[in-house]
Structures are given as structure tokens and as C-alpha cells.
């Protein structure tokens, strides 16, 4: 494995912090949601049920947001 010195670590942390600031809270929020989704527990049935629940909640959010927007703009 390649070694990394203190200066390298400081540079890496600086770059990561810069990137996180650049992406902004919305990008990070999506990343965290996806990361939570992709970390599975040991029980297959529970994992499938949790994924279905998360997917359906996202669909409801999408449909509600689009319908509210259509009403707002008169479509």
C-alpha cells in the first residue's frame, strides 16, 4: 500500500472539504440517502422490505411535488 505523509493527509482533507462545500447540502443529502440504501443488514427480507418502503416514499414525494407544481402554474 502506498504511504501518505502528514502533508498529503492535510492536502487530501482540504480537497475533500472543498468538494463537500462545492457540492452543497442538497448533493450531500442525496449521497447520504443512497449510502443508507446501499448498506444492507443481514436479513434479506428486511432489506427488501426497507428498499421497497424507501422507493415508494420517494415516488409519493415525486408525485406530490409534481402535482403541486402543476396546480401552481395552472397546468
Amino acid at each position: 500500500m502506498a504511504k501518505i505523509d502528514a502533508q498529503g493527509i492535510a492536502l487530501l482533507i482540504g480537497q475533500l472539504l472543498g468538494d463537500i462545500t462545492a457540492v452543497g447540502p442538497a448533493g450531500i443529502e442525496l449521497f447520504l440517502k443512497l449510502q443508507a440504501l446501499f448498506n444492507l443488514g443481514p436479513d434479506e427480507q428486511a432489506n427488501v422490505a426497507a428498499a421497497i418502503k424507501a422507493g415508494l416514499a420517494a415516488d409519493e414525494e415525486t408525485i406530490a411535488a409534481v402535482e403541486a407544481w402543476k396546480q401552481q402554474v395552472g397546468l
Binding site: 462545492a22 440504501l37 432489506n47 422507493g55 415508494l56 420517494a58 415516488d59 407544481w69
Partner: protein, 154 residues
Amino acid sequence: MRRRVALVIVLTVFTVACIHKQSGPVSPWERVNVNLAALAQINADVAKGIIAVQQMGSITSQQAAPILNYQELVAKDHMAIENILAAGSAQAVNQSAQIEALLNEIKNQGTALIQSGGLGIKNPKSQQTFTQDLQGIINLAQVVLTDYQLAEGK
């Protein structure tokens, strides 16, 4: 700007490529359902992003409408797929043609929307262009289709 896009793409690819399980291998059904949930989540963020840029005045409501109609179609198709999958794997196998048709509809209509142009503006929710976001949804639909066919043993 390029760095932001690169980071989001790297993060998304990293997470999509890496479904982690605490113990044992990830089953085909877990893969199908988790990727479907990711598709729905990204779709929700694209819809909210389009609404945000329209409300900021970057695009007109006429430009936003076909994209949002597509997001709603994806959400409804995804709900229909999930309702079949929630009934269990045996039911899903019986309705495999319907599941494949819904996934193909998501892919084909998304591709047509990208080809119609005008989606080069940035989604504030993902920091990618809407073309890239929609391509992500299309790619995930293809991943789910392939996983689903593997799960079925085709």
C-alpha cells in the same frame, strides 16, 4: 464546476457499484429492490431540481412540463413494479413481462426526452446537468432490468 460534477459522479458510481451487506452475499432480489429504490430517490431529486430551476426562472413552465411529466411517469411505473415485487418473488415471476415493459418504458421515454434537447442546465439538487441525471435514471433502469432477468434465472 468540472470538479463538482466529477465528485458527484464518482460518489454516485461508488455507491451504485457497492451495495454492502453486513453478512453474506447480496441476493439478486436485494440488488433489484435496492437499485429500484435508488432509481426512485434520484427521480425524486430530479423532479425537485426541475421545479427549483423553473421557480428561479431559468426555464419556463412549458420547458419544465415534459420533464416533470416524465418524472411522474417514472414514479408511477416504479410504484406499479414495487406493488408486484411486494407480493413476493413468485408473483413477480408471473408478471415478468409487465415488469420488463415498465422498465423499458422508463428507459425509452427518458432517452426520447434527452434526444429532444434543452436539458443542459444544472440541477441544483445533484449539481449535474438534467441530461446527466436522466441518463442516470435510464442506466439504473437497465441495471434493474439485467438484475431482474438474472434473479429470474433467464
